[in-house]
């Protein structure tokens, strides 16, 4: 009976989705922005026409994107200087005014994107790694591709974490920010992670609690009430190994639900849809075969609704809901971005292809512009890809 009903619902839904224009059939890679100093690990749009990207050594660059897709690839315009280690997450506030960055240097920095950005000039070498590799292999060194950029400093900092900050999530109203960090403590205590809820406009810590494992995938529900966190401690044959997925009450820091029985694999990412209807988690880390799958959960109960297939070879890294409310995008360790239909989990298409070889570079992170027309992908190989999703 129940099954029939569900089936009926899908039958009703299908014509509606078909009516949607967004099959992303025309999606196109328009620019690839080179920056090979180290892996590009995070991206975020600032408005629809600016893209901020960050890398493994803690550097951040901002590009102003041309209006027309056919235009020449832009050069970076600004450098945001302040981090000293890998930047793991980048978020832009809904007013597009501030950029928030989380890093392995234990810090969360705030950047004023409306500030006067002509403080200081600095030279960025966009092919630094290629030159290093050539030098260390005693090959002919390519000429440096140098760009002069203005340098900006942080406008603020959220102080609270003492170890790698891997998770960062914000409510759509920009009021609540949640961050998660590994917290390696001495032998007398359990190994723990730490989650902090921030009042973002006030820049103040509201709540903090500990998790047994290191938080990896982290997201706050749009209403700011629930925090989902996946945990890991990647050991084998040791009692200290852990993987878990929990729902937490963001107000009290109490555990609401332990989903670890249903979701046994380690999840590298978590995201709520802006309308709060969906909770998505993705499987990360290397697992066998096509296992970097996206799992859609009921945000209220945590029940598994569906899993997407095929997954990302060797694991998924990041997810982004499309503003159309009907699609979710995922990136993985297979150099592809995959588009999925939320209603039925259908695989819509891939952006990009596996790069060849047994092990591919990763797309470390993706971001979609507020108007839903552009997608940026942070490529481990030292590039930022800009796709136009629709005209």
């Amino acid at each position: 009976m129940l099954r029939l009903l569900t089936l009926g619902m899908i039958l009703i839904v299908v014509p509606v989705t078909q009516a949607q224009p967004a099959s992303f059939a025309d999606a196109k890679l328009v620019w690839t922005l080179p920056w090979d100093a180290d892996w590009v690990t995070a991206v975020s749009f600032v408005g629809n026409d600016r893209i901020a990207a960050a890398n493994k050594v803690g550097d951040m660059l901002v590009w102003n994107l041309p209006a027309a897709p056919g235009d020449k690839a832009p050069q970076p315009a600004h450098r945001l200087a302040g981090h000293t280690n890998e930047i793991t997450r980048l978020l832009t506030t809904p007013d597009q005014r501030r950029l928030i960055s989380a890093s392995l240097d234990h810090s969360i920095l705030l950047w004023d994107m409306k500030a006067d950005l002509t403080e200081k000039a600095s030279v960025v070498v966009l092919n630094e790694r290629a030159r290093y590799e050539a030098e260390s292999r005693k090959k002919k060194m390519p000429a440096a591709i140098e760009v002069t950029v203005s340098v900006q400093k942080k406008s603020g900092e959220l102080i609270g974490h003492k170890d790698w900050v891997l998770g960062l999530s914000m409510t759509p109203d920009g009021k609540t920010l949640v961050s998660g960090a590994d917290r390696v403590v001495g032998p007398k205590k359990e190994k723990e992670g730490e989650i902090i809820v921030w009042d973002l406009p006030a820049g103040k810590e509201v709540r903090r609690w500990h998790t047994k494992g290191w938080p990896w995938g982290l997201a706050v529900s749009p209403d700011g009430q629930t925090v989902v966190a996946s945990e890991r401690i990647p050991l084998v044959f040791d009692s200290g190994s852990r993987s878990a997925l929990m729902l937490w009450n963001a107000q009290t820091g109490e555990m609401k639900a332990d989903l670890s029985k249903e979701i046994k694999e380690r999840m590298s990412g978590a995201a709520y849809s802006p309308d709060g209807k969906w909770l998505a988690v993705c499987r990360g880390g290397e697992a066998n075969g096509l296992s970097g799958k996206i799992t859609l959960l009921d945000p209220a109960t945590g029940k598994k609704l569906r899993e997407t297939a095929p997954g990302h070879l060797d694991g998924a890294t990041d997810m982004a809901f499309h503003p159309d409310g009907k699609h979710i995008f995922s990136a993985g360790r297979d150099t592809t971005v995959k588009i999925w239909q939320l209603a039925d989990g259908k695989h819509v298409r891939d952006l990009g292809q596996g790069r060849g070889g047994q092990f591919k570079d990763w797309i470390c992170a993706i971001a979609i512009s507020p108007d839903g027309r552009r997608l940026a992908a942070a490529d481990m190989a030292g590039m930022v890809h800009i796709w136009v999703l629709s005209k």
């Binding site: 890998e86 032998p187 050991l235 040791d238 990763w362």
Partner: protein, 423 residues
């Protein structure tokens, strides 16, 4: 100067019957003179005190992420160095407890070895010979068991926790085979008595009767070897409570860390104290071809309290001066970070750490270039390392055995102990 209450506990009955030798410190050292007619009692007693614990980083730990850091270099990775308690030596930020014990450590940063993969590397770094040498070389544990072991002890001379070696006792024979226990003290198959103590006693009496009768006219050593092995098995079954750490562990856990490996290190300390000359504790998980940094961070979180706790514990019990603690795996890991955030196997320039008995602590020996790709000075081979370890333990590194007609040495020709590492 001598540890008290250390080796006495699990000496065999016969050893006690043969008399004990009192030392200045008041410790009872068994009188091996009756067993080793060729050696003086004093020499034996001195030798019997030497012990070795091998902490095995299975899969191969990354030197750049632990003891040979390259901050700011493209090969450096995300970990940051911290100052140790020895001037000029920095270690990884995730080894804060070991940083406070660096004055005990001899860090060899210039290992250059020959076997790049796991089976061959595990073999090579356990025997100091190449696997394809096709000789049944014994592992370091077997060699140490042979030269430092007490044949009369209740406990085996070579105890291993984890599945980390692949050569066994080789040409030294089954007497020196590794005795595998779980890090929680789980004993190997067939160690738990299958019959009641009453039955065991009754049938042992009858067996002893048969052996005595047989021994009247049958004097071949082989029979004696068989009888002794039976006695060892029985003694071990009786002494098996040593392996049970359930009661002590909750207290020790604070020091060693709440991990399987930490528990193994605690067990190693206990066994060393009970007179076992060689204990190997394996830590899994190092083979990080992917996600090297999270894996190493997790591993160090386990390693740091376990290893430092062990050294501290040994020191407090006056055992460290006579116990050599070796930390190594079969390979190091590449300076190059691959596109799986991993580091692959690397044998050109990697790190092994010695501590305690016989080595001079507080030093980093040898060095690598700024990116960690090559050894810059004082390269150390497998043979050199083993010669150093054997020398520190008072074992002749060129001791010779025979396999059939073929002579074979404890370390390959050309191996030299690194004098600078020895105290």
């Amino acid at each position: 100067m001598f540890p008290t209450n250390t080796t006495g506990e699990h000496l065999g009955r016969r050893a006690f019957l043969k008399g004990a030798l009192a030392t200045a410190g008041g410790m009872a050292v068994a009188n091996w003179g009756g067993l080793f007619n060729s050696q003086t009692i004093a020499q034996e007693a001195a030798r019997q005190n030497k012990r070795c614990i091998l902490l095995w980083a299975n899969g191969g730990a990354s030197q750049i992420d632990t003891f040979d850091m390259k901050p700011g270099r493209p090969t450096g990775g995300p970990f940051r160095p911290i100052q140790s308690n020895v001037n000029g030596i920095q270690v990884c930020e995730y080894l804060p407890l070991m940083a406070r014990m660096t004055d005990k450590l001899a860090i060899i940063r210039s290992m250059r070895t020959q076997s790049p993969d796991h089976p061959d590397g595990i073999y090579h770094m356990h025997t100091c010979y190449k696997q394809n040498d096709r000789m049944p070389h014994p592992e370091i544990g077997a060699m140490i068991a042979k030269y430092l072991g007490n044949p009369e002890a209740d406990l085996p001379s070579f105890v291993r926790m984890g599945s980390t070696g692949n050569a066994g006792s080789g040409y030294l024979g089954p007497r020196f085979e590794p005795f595998h226990i779980g890090q929680d003290g789980r004993l190997p198959y067939f160690s738990e008595p299958s019959v009641t103590p009453q039955v065991q006693e009754r049938r042992t009496d009858l067996l002893n009767f048969m052996e005595r009768e047989h021994a009247r006219e049958h004097r071949a050593e082989a029979f004696e070897s068989h009888r002794l092995a039976e006695q060892r098995a029985l003694r071990l079954m009786r002494a098996r409570q040593v392996f049970n750490t359930n009661e002590e562990w909750p207290r020790a856990r604070d020091r060693y860390g709440n991990s399987t490996f930490g528990r193994g290190c605690f067990m190693a300390r206990k066994l060393i104290e009970a007179g076992v000359p060689f204990v190997e504790v394996g830590q899994e998980n190092y083979d990080s071809h992917a996600d090297n940094f999270t894996v190493h961070k997790a591993n160090m979180d386990v390693l740091d309290p376990a290893w430092s706790g062990l050294l501290q514990d040994l020191q407090e019990r006056n055992l460290l001066a006579n116990t050599l603690v070796v930390w190594m795996g079969e390979v190091g890991r590449t300076p190059y970070i691959n596109n799986r955030a991993g580091r692959d196997h690397f044998i050109r320039a990697w790190t092994i750490v010695l501590a305690g008995g016989g080595v001079r602590g507080g030093q980093a020996y040898g060095s690598t270039d700024r990116d960690g790709r090559e050894v810059v000075d004082n390269p150390v081979t497998e043979g050199d390392l083993f010669a150093t370890i054997y020398t520190a333990l008072g074992i002749n590194p060129r001791v010779r055995h025979y396999v059939g007609a073929r002579p074979i040495w404890a370390t390959p020709e050309g191996s030299r102990p690194v004098r600078a590492l020895l105290s």
